[in-house]
């Protein structure tokens, strides 16, 4: 992965292709391998690997201040694309150029150690999301996030007792606590109540003003309309639209009707 020096460009995705081994979809065991090798050795040894093209020739750029809504039906490749940008997965070909620090969260209902309290989990999540911060800076982020979450006395209750809304409150408060060049939120507003969603949206928007860009993945067109100024639509592993929000939503609605 290369890093660009252009000041305004945060992400540049060029000719990106991601391929997965189809055999890994199926649950195979050593026993299965042994049986197939023993029953038909020639077929097993000469069988060619099957691949699934998850992302195909993806090209788009994200600039400072962009709030990109990533739309697409289930299985279109949205999460895989976000993971490529977040450097969690390496593309098979093409390149993702990220200019600066990326922070990504893909699920807000995850407690790192569910047996620990919300406060203790906040400390762990904070260490994982902000490893570059000093101990003192991290403590400040924790205190500020816990206050923002408004979980009050529930902070000392084990995380496994939390409702989905409470889990979302805790994670979203921490992830939006500090600015970064690129924030990736993959369907993370799901579970949070309307009041808190508005509160976090305001905080994220404020964060964007002070720093970089955001990629939102959501099935809620209302949320996309409210929070984004640009839309990218993925369909069958390819980008079919990249531009204005209103037109993008119309195209996406037509896609759903098909």
């Amino acid at each position: 992965m290369k890093f660009s020096s252009k000041s305004e460009q945060i992400v540049s995705v060029q000719n990106l292709n991601l391929v997965y081994h189809v055999d890994h979809y199926t649950n195979k065991s050593i026993k299965d391998l042994f049986v197939s090798l023993a029953s038909s050795p020639i077929k097993s040894l000469t069988a060619s690997a099957r691949y699934y093209h998850v992302l195909q020739d993806i090209n788009f750029d994200i600039y400072k201040g962009d709030r990109v809504g990533l739309l697409g039906i289930n299985g279109a490749g949205k999460t895989s694309l976000c993971r490529c940008i977040a450097q969690m997965v390496v593309p098979n070909s093409g390149q993702v150029v990220v200019n600066g620090k990326t922070r990504a969260i893909f699920d807000t209902s995850i407690g790192i150690v569910p047996e620990l309290t919300g406060r203790e989990n906040a400390e762990v999540i904070c260490s994982l999301l902000y490893p570059e911060l000093s101990h003192k800076e991290r403590q400040e982020v924790i205190e500020e996030s816990l206050e923002f979450s408004e979980l009050g006395e529930f902070l000392d209750v084990p995380y496994l007792k939390y409702s989905k809304g409470m889990q979302a409150r805790l994670s979203l408060s921490i992830v939006s606590a500090r600015g970064c060049d690129l924030l990736i939120l993959d369907e993370v507003y799901d579970g949070a109540d309307i009041f808190f969603r508005e509160k976090v949206s305001a905080r994220v928007l404020n964060m964007i003003k002070n720093s970089g860009a955001v990629i939102f993945v959501s099935h809620s067109l209302e949320q996309i309309e409210e929070a984004c100024n640009k839309v990218v639509i993925l369909d069958r592993s390819k980008v079919i639209y990249n531009g204005d929000v209103a037109q993008g939503i119309t195209i996406y609605k037509n896609l759903l009707r098909k």
């Binding site: 065991s29 922070r103 762990v124």
Partner: protein, 255 residues
């Protein structure tokens, strides 16, 4: 802060959090984890000296040097093989490498092993006739043991992502290897026609230098054992690196 420093920091945080959660739930918590190898060692020491009457000088030290590293390897295979799969939702949600999760569970297991080792080795050495000069080389043997355990556990843990029956195979392997590896008996007990079994046993190549440092063995002999152990660790390191490069992209997809 470099990437390595950040990863080490994450490993430390995850290990501490996991230990805090694990030992909070039980009254004697950590003591029980340490007590387990101590009890196993005590029972075996009594059975082999009193019942089977194995007549070896400083047998308690001999058994300790073989049994403790074996317990560490066995519990790491048992406890950490499923760690990547168990942490699937965390790996899918945050920008964390599967290796961070894996190494934090190995570190947790090592802390348990080291606590049991200190509790057992100090009184045993004090009551033994002579303090082995091989203790100078002990840090090297310990490093070889840690590397061997980390590499084998990592390979099994990566395999477990794709083949869920690998756990049964490791259980089966450990049951057989406990008897085939000279842990509670000396290698001299093995008839010459079967000596090849320990010559090809990588587990013994790692346990032997560990025990030799505690159990009065000449320094050149220990160095030779460590050289063999280094060869095993090197091969395992190459296998692990190759396998990791091949499958790291598929892990998130499969868990």
């Amino acid at each position: 802060m470099t990437k390595l420093q950040m990863t080490l920091q994450q490993v430390k945080v995850l290990t501490y959090a996991s230990m805090r959660a694990r030992y909070r739930k039980t009254i004697i918590g950590f003591i029980w984890v340490v007590l387990n190898p101590i009890l196993m060692y005590s029972v075996q020491a009594i059975v082999f000296t009193k019942f089977l009457q194995l007549n070896l000088p400083d047998y308690y030290l001999f058994l300790l040097g073989g049994l403790l590293p074996w317990i560490f390897i066995n519990s790491s295979w048992d406890f950490c093989t499923s760690s990547i799969v168990s942490a699937g939702s965390i790996l899918k949600s945050f920008q964390i490498s599967p290796l961070t999760i894996l190494f934090s569970s190995i570190l947790e297991n090592f802390i348990n092993f080291f606590a049991a080792f200190i509790i057992l080795v100090i009184p045993t050495l004090l009551f033994s006739d002579s303090l082995s000069s091989g203790m100078i080389l002990f840090p090297i043997s310990l490093a070889l043991l840690i590397l061997f355990t980390s590499f084998t556990t990592s390979i099994f843990s990566l395999m477990y992502v794709f083949y869920r029956d690998i756990k049964y195979i490791t259980h089966f392997l450990m049951s057989i290897l406990f008897f085939l590896t000279p842990i509670f008996y000396p290698p001299s007990f093995i008839p010459s026609q079967y000596k090849w079994i320990i010559d090809v046993n990588p587990l013994y190549m790692i346990i032997a230098p560990f025990r030799a440092c505690l159990y009065n063995t000449p320094l050149p002999e220990i160095l030779m054992m460590q050289l063999k152990g280094f060869g095993v660790v090197l091969v395992l390191g190459i296998i692990f690196t190759t396998y990791w490069k091949k499958c790291k992209n598929e892990i998130l997809f499969k868990i």
